[in-house]
Amino acid sequence: MKILIKNGRLVDPASNLDRVGDVAIANGRIVHLGDQGDFGGFEAERTLDATGLIVAPGLVDLCARLREPGHEHEGLLESELAAAAAGGVTSLVCPPDTDPVLDEPGLVEMLKFRARKLSRCRLFPLGALTRQLQGQALTEMAELTEAGCIGFSQAEVPIRDTLVLSRALQYAATYGYTVWLRPQDAYLGGGVAASGAVATRLGLSGVPVSAETVALHTLFELMRGTGARVHLCRISSAAGVELVRAAKREGLAVTADVSINSLHLSDVDIGYFDSAMRLTPPLRQGRDRDALRAGLADGTLDALVSDHMPVTSDEKAVPFAEATPGATGLELLLSLALRWARDAQLPLQRALAVVTAEPVRVLGPALGSLSASAGRLVEGGVADVCVFDADASWSVTPEALASQGKHTPFAFASSGFELPARVRCTLVAGHVAYEAA
């Protein structure tokens, strides 16, 4: 289908583009970008008037769980990819903690095939780093990569055995695969809330900052020995940000992300045991949140992720410690990126960069031919586009979300959060994947 997006404000952080113009799309690709006109007889079958709207690259989310296979009561590929499209997300990375775990090429192929059929959002699975995520035996990383995995992860299961971790990094480094790890020490990380005044007062078991910093120190030391490339998932503490900053200064091949929850909330928001705030990593103190915001602004943290995790009401209507951690997030990613930039007085370009060009840079060559055009607006590149109204403001009513997960700390009724920006239209490979009613 030939689509013309007319008269929008074209914003692309990767090329520092910010101008009013048209985008012409044919055969899934952007064939013209910029000046308005008839561009050599382009006959649009569909014209979208983007006057007053922003036309940006589709968002790239480095952490969203779809819950299939194995957890269909929490989320379906169909509902969660629809949520992605509604949030302007055109590519997402999913961790391997499905049931069964993504440690077999066949499973990965099946998942990719089913996602492609839905054509709502591109899906980039992470393969399991160890079989069954048990932290003992390595998976067939090369086979899994051929099947479509873009990196290898332990999801929420830290490797306890340092020798296994070292070998996993060595083996991945052999092929240049990136290892995605959330830095958390298996022993120190057993609590349900961040150690500190709130956890102490509420009598909740704590996760000390050292759970993150001990894991980071271990990882960096092993990276120095193995030359592995590591992406650090969801840094949660000020001390963690500082260690990542030092590692980058040293020249280690490391990138890092932060979740929308840690970027906007702190442990004080737990209030009276609000299970919507039961998250991993746990919400830390205000000073940690401030450091995460600064780290994302200065590039120490490369990307912002939704940390999307659909959870049922039954799994949240239990005492805090027993609640399943996680929150829905795909439909909030754009708004919370813009809200962060607005609060921090950063330009729109930076807000969009942390959810488009920067995550694509994190993915690097693993994206193959897409790495040249995903997360950016470029002539000849894939037409993954998000059209949104930056001036709209909205508040989250959980029932209105496309995701099967209705639990979010940002629900208006409990948080009073007002969010900027609404997605009007999402295009994936030149197809309309979402259009606001």
Partner: protein
């Protein structure tokens, strides 16, 4: 974020649930202690009953085993003429897979007026209070490490009985503070009542430095902790803490942090010694001290019934 209203109070600032001593207005604590005082005489009468809760049903929901606390709540409710139903849920419905809220919904359908809840998870009574029918009152009888407000209030009653005024006291709480709901409830109540010095005493594994956030002075030395104290509250040391994870042995703990006559001699001459019970003789407290003239451990139990009567009577008089 929106500031959240204290879920224990209705819009008139009256007590509708007792979930924690944290954030209780001082006037409500004093009202409970005064009311408890008037109930003490009931306990001395030949017919130990008043009709304040006649026709009301009090359900004791103990998701965690307890004999002592459940019994004192049962006695208190019966002395108020309530019908008392004891449910030992640790061994029944949740074992069959029923969720906490389903259990509560079912019991609400049986026209309960008050739930007395004990649960191993911090915050469980808050969850019940949020989801139960509006006319039902929830009393927290101990949740995880979080709170044990009636114990905290009976401790306040005991201190007031023996010391009269809170405003120049030094109170030392000794032992496993980090896992203790009693300690948390005592610390909040003591702060609200104006105690200028509250000390938390024990080894670093049981008394971590971040307890300072609760406004206490942290002491890792028993002599420093009890010196010139007016009140010494000893906590029960749970068996599971003694097996090497947090303490090497009960013997070493007793040697350094157990309350012996020698250590007690460092406190003020008229200091009182309290303990929420059940006591471990020779682990946290020496028999000479537990049975000695400074000990007020048994009066605490007696006051506990009056305080629980007061809490239930006040709750029953307030509407959501």
């Amino acid at each position: 974020m929106l500031s959240k209203r204290n879920p224990q109070l209705n819009k008139h600032g009256e007590l509708i649930h007792l979930l924690s001593t944290e954030g209780l207005p001082r006037a409500i604590i004093e009202q409970i202690l005064d009311t408890a005082g008037s109930f003490l005489s009931v306990n001395d009468r030949e017919v130990k009953k008043v009709p304040l809760l006649r026709g009301k049903s009090v359900f004791n929901l103990f998701f965690e085993n307890s004999t002592r606390t459940r019994t004192t709540f049962e006695i208190a409710a019966k002395r108020l003429s309530a019908d008392v139903i004891n449910l030992d849920i640790a061994r029944s419905s949740t074992a069959k897979g029923e969720t906490l809220l389903d259990t509560v919904a079912n019991l609400s359908a049986m026209h309960a007026d008050m739930f007395v809840v004990r649960h191993s998870e911090s915050g469980a009574p808050h969850l019940i209070a949020q989801h139960c029918a509006p006319h039902v009152h929830v009393v927290n009888a101990g949740d995880g490490r979080h709170a044990h407000p009636t114990q905290g209030l009976l401790d306040m009653y005991t201190i007031r009985h023996f010391k009269k005024d809170f405003r120049n006291l030094t109170v030392a709480i000794v032992g496993d503070i980090v896992h203790s709901r009693v300690a948390r409830s005592d610390i909040h109540a003591l702060s609200i009542l104006g105690v200028p010095e509250i000390r938390a005493v024990g080894p670093k594994t049981l008394v971590p430095g971040d307890l300072r956030d609760m406004g206490v002075r942290v002491c890792h030395d028993m002599a420093e902790g009890v010196r010139d104290a007016d009140v010494v509250i000893m906590l029960r040391l749970q068996n599971e803490r003694m097996n090497g994870g947090m303490l090497p042995s009960s013997g070493e703990f007793f040697k350094h942090f157990g309350l012996t006559p020698d250590k007690l001699a460092l406190a003020k001459p008229d200091a009182i010694v309290m303990h929420p019970g059940p006591i471990n003789r020779g682990v946290e407290i020496a028999s000479e001290v537990a049975d000695g003239k400074s000990s007020v451990i048994l009066p605490q139990v007696t006051f506990g019934i009056a305080v629980r009567m007061a809490v239930m009577a006040i709750l029953a008089g307030n509407e959501a």
